[in-house]
């Protein structure tokens, strides 16, 4: 029996699944309400919103402008390549787009939801064939490559589709988180339940947003994710994202070998627990590695009140990444909380026993998985 990576990092008392399910069914928030939690969650989501904005712009740029580029050396430059920016990039004075790629690969690899189903459909294969044929007419390298490795280019198009879909998803989430910060400053959001309600409202508003993606080859336009595929924001992208990035994740590249040798990688993808909600805030080179590049990106965009609060506690700037990670996990529990509430099959105040049972099953399924995460951050 492989070791669950979460077992390696959690040893403190965590809330049991039943308690979490009861909280969800009572309509309460997983994260306890406190002024400190409000400061942390809103502040870290604001910085996350800034980062997601950059991630979103870049992912959409990559999918549209670097499509099937065999040598995408400058894919992180959003088309704005100049010596000063190149120097900043090489000097690591930049957004770490590698984390966005990590999330995209996690989504592509775990492949849940309608997006993945469409990427394996005959309609998508037909679209790919048309795009590849058009590309081969103009690109001799791809023309030679495709017969040698016929599944290579379709896989690249699947990747590009996921990149674009994630870019669209983060566009919505970035705006939502920045709106939340503005609402909090206006005094419209002043508690953790209000934060969860705000996010839930934003998700529900975007539930049916269509997800589609087209590319231009020469002057010809091709649909990769056509409108007729019927892909929508919540079910086909948001939930697969939560599943892949918040819950499952993948071991980071440097630790794959380490974890495999220690028999810590489950053969069942569904039982992976490398996601953000399971990450150990303390970097230890073990299984529960925090998304340190994201922490670094958020650190550069911390709002001053939260930064000031971080500086006052612990080691000040010395352990700021750990503090950001803990705040981030609190924020992600709020987002997950809003997602669970938004996808609850029936109203929580329903008196119908069948509807209550369905709600309970929904809440328990989530609670079972969350209870193995870093829920020790939920208390005030």
């Amino acid at each position: 029996m492989p070791v669950n990576p979460a077992d390696l990092v959690r040893s403190g008392p965590m809330p049991p699944a039943e308690a979490l399910a009861a909280t969800l069914l009572a309509g309460e928030t997983l994260l306890q309400d406190s002024p400190q939690h409000l400061l942390e969650v809103v502040g870290v989501l604001e910085s996350y919103g800034e980062v997601l904005d950059a991630y979103s712009i870049n992912l959409i740029y990559q999918a549209e402008e670097q499509f099937l580029n065999p040598f995408p050396f400058f894919k992180y430059f959003d088309g704005d390549l100049n010596p000063a920016r190149l120097w900043r990039h090489l000097n690591h004075d930049r957004i770490n787009f590698e984390y966005a790629e990590y999330c995209m690969k996690a989504m592509l690899w775990h492949g849940t939801g309608g997006l993945d189903a469409y990427l394996d459909s005959p309609a998508f294969a037909a679209g790919c064939a048309a795009i590849i044929a058009a590309k081969r007419r103009r690109d001799p390298l791809l023309a030679m490559l495709h017969p040698l490795a016929p599944s290579f280019l379709p896989e690249q198009i699947r990747t590009a589709a996921t990149v674009h879909a994630l870019g669209q998803f983060w566009r919505v989430m970035s705006d939502l988180f920045l709106d939340l910060a503005r609402a909090e400053r206006r005094g419209e959001v002043s508690s953790i339940p209000a934060v969860v309600a705000f996010i839930k409202q934003g998700l529900v508003a975007a539930v049916a947003n269509p997800i589609h993606y087209a590319v231009k080859v020469a002057d010809e336009r091709f649909w990769v994710l056509p409108p007729e595929a019927g892909l929508t924001f919540l079910v086909d992208v948001a939930l697969p994202y939560v599943e892949a990035v918040f819950l499952r994740g993948t071991p980071f590249f440097g630790t794959v070998s380490f974890n495999a040798q220690a028999e810590q990688i489950s053969p069942d993808q569904g039982s992976f627990a490398y996601g953000a909600l399971y990450a150990d805030p303390l970097p230890t080179m073990g299984a529960g590695i925090p998304p340190s590049l994201l922490m670094q990106d958020m650190y550069r965009h911390l709002p001053e009140p939260l930064h000031r609060w971080y500086r006052q506690g612990g080691r000040g700037e010395g352990d700021v990444h750990v503090k950001i990670c803990r705040s981030f996990q609190k924020a992600m529990f709020c987002v997950t909380n809003a997602t669970i509430a938004g996808t609850m099959p029936h109203p929580l105040d329903s008196r119908d026993p069948q509807q209550q049972a369905a709600n309970r099953a929904h809440a328990l399924a989530w609670a079972e998985r969350l209870s193995r995460g870093r829920t020790d951050c939920l208390e005030a």
Binding site: L8, R10, P283
Partner: protein, 519 residues
């Protein structure tokens, strides 16, 4: 200052007088000086002492084997006690390291709430006494200085030590007092058996003294200095003393005071009784191997970091006895290197253990985990600890490698079995120190026994950060450890003539005896 002017100065006396005057200054400092001010005074004193040491180094002629810069004043000639000082390649590096490590001890003293005047005064008295012992060219004078450091150290442990300090200090006092009595007994016995009151450092031949008497006197010296080094089975005071002593005192104890034993063993055991030494050498080599193996195996069994480092000293001191037993030029040079490198490395280890203890409140290897954590652990301390254990395990490029390589190379021909056993024991150093590093520094940061939940139910351990000034002494020692490993030639140049002459002493005496005595 010209060389002639410098030679006219009583530099060796200054090496004793400067710290003694500094100690006096601590006691008579007007008003109520703060501990920081007193520490500043002690640092200034030790800096001056180090400056004098450097002047001695500049005037020292490394091509000469005998004592140099000698200062001779009759004191109580009737009983053979004369104020004769001199320095050679055996004692000069130890004088330098004494000044440096006392300075480190003073610098790393933190949060001194009780009797700061007395504390710094005692540290300076110890430094003066150790210098006196290393420089003494008279057996009784050596003994006086050897005993002079005893009471200050006892006070340092019993006043500023841990919760079980009274036991540890008393044990230290009893063992070291017995050591002193045996050494004094050997010196007085020498006078008694030879019928003179000449306590100068003249080798004793079998023409002057029967071999049985020589063996008796040498045996007393071996046990006396064996307690101080310490060697198995006279080592039991050391782990207790280290465990209860504060970090600066442990630094001094391991780095400098144990070297009084090794220095005494080579200077007086080998130097006074070379013929008897040659007869006992095979037994000494076995004793050394047992000490090395026992020290290493006992270290593996420890759970307290400080006790582990203390037992490692027992093992490393054993290699010096092995070098002394072989008494070849290379081995004795290795012994000198081992004294210096062990002084630096063990001081570094104790400094780092001290930082860990100050920040975590424990030294228990079953409780400490993941201290290398870059955000909330002790990353620099941990990195230096990894460097220190590599040096202690004798990895190339570090001071420990040079010394152990020379010792084993110099002794393998004379005592192959004992050397091989010692090499195995030395190899075990890597085992116990890797256990230490693996348990305390690798993995997830936690201050909790294995498999037990944290007391507050949370995993976000909050350790205070280590200020740069706290790590500075350790950094300096680490640089010295690497520098000595990469550039051993200067130390070799200082000591080689002396150690070569010491190695040739038994041969010269044997040749002299066969030719009708030394004349």
């Amino acid at each position: 200052m010209t060389s002639a002017a410098m030679t006219s100065l009583p530099l060796l006396s200054l090496l004793i007088a400067v710290p003694l005057l500094g100690a006096l200054l601590m006691l008579v400092w007007p008003g109520s000086p703060t501990p920081n001010r007193l520490r500043g005074g002690a640092i200034a004193t030790l800096a001056l002492q180090l400056l004098v040491s450097v002047l001695v180094l500049l005037l020292f002629d490394p091509d000469q084997a005998g004592l140099q810069l000698q200062e001779r004043q009759a004191w109580l000639p009737g009983i053979g006690l004369n104020y004769w000082l001199g320095v050679d390649g055996l004692s000069l590096p130890l004088v330098l390291i004494n000044g440096a490590l006392t300075l480190v001890s003073v610098v790393c003293t933190r949060e001194l709430s009780r009797r700061p005047r007395l504390y710094f005064c005692l540290l300076l008295v110890i430094s003066a006494a150790v210098n006196g012992a290393f420089l003494a060219d008279n057996l009784l004078l050596f003994f006086l200085f050897y005993e002079l450091e005893l009471i200050p150290l006892w006070l340092l442990i019993s006043i500023w030590g841990g919760s079980n300090r009274a036991y540890a200090a008393t044990k230290f006092l009893i063992f070291t007092a017995v050591s002193g009595m045996l050494i004094l007994g050997a010196f007085l016995g020498l006078a008694l058996f030879t019928g003179t009151v000449d306590f100068s450092l003249t080798p004793v031949t079998s023409e002057r003294l029967a071999m049985g008497s020589q063996l008796l006197l040498l045996g007393a010296l071996l046990v006396g200095f064996g307690i101080k080094m310490p060697l198995v089975p006279f080592h039991t005071w050391l782990p207790d003393a280290h465990t209860q002593a504060s970090t600066p005192v442990s630094v001094l104890l391991a780095g400098v005071l144990l070297k009084l034993g090794t220095y005494g063993l080579l200077r007086f055991g080998l130097g006074l009784f070379p013929e008897a030494w040659a007869q006992l050498a095979p037994a000494l080599a076995i004793w050394a191997a047992v000490s090395v193996l026992f020290g290493s195996l006992a270290a593996i069994a420890q759970r307290d970091m400080k006790r582990m480092v203390a037992y490692s000293s027992v093992g490393h001191m054993g290699t010096i006895l092995l070098a002394g037993a072989a008494a070849s030029p290379v081995a004795l040079l290795g012994a000198e290197f081992q004294m210096v490198s062990h002084g630096l490395i063990s001081a570094l280890l104790f400094l780092l253990v001290g930082i860990v203890y100050r920040k975590t409140g424990t030294r228990d290897l079953d409780v400490l985990h993941g201290l290398l954590n870059p955000q909330r652990g002790l990353p620099l301390t941990g990195s230096l600890m990894v460097l220190a254990v590599m040096a202690s395990a004798g990895l190339p490029g570090m001071a420990g490698f040079i010394s152990e390589f020379l010792v084993f190379q110099g002794s393998i021909q004379a005592f192959p079995l004992a050397t091989l056993l010692s090499i195995v024991g030395s190899g075990l150093t890597a085992v116990y120190f890797l256990l230490l590093v693996n348990r305390a520094f690798f993995g997830r940061l936690a201050i909790t026994p294995h498999n037990d939940p944290p007391r507050d139910g949370r995993l976000d351990v909050q350790l205070p950060s280590v200020a740069p000034r706290e790590t500075l002494p350790a950094l300096a020692l680490a640089v010295a450890v690497v520098a000595l490993g990469l550039l051993p030639a200067p130390l070799g140049r200082i000591s080689e003539a002396t150690t070569t002459a010491m190695a040739q002493l038994p041969l010269l005496l044997a040749a002299g005896n066969s030719a009708g005595g030394l004349g």
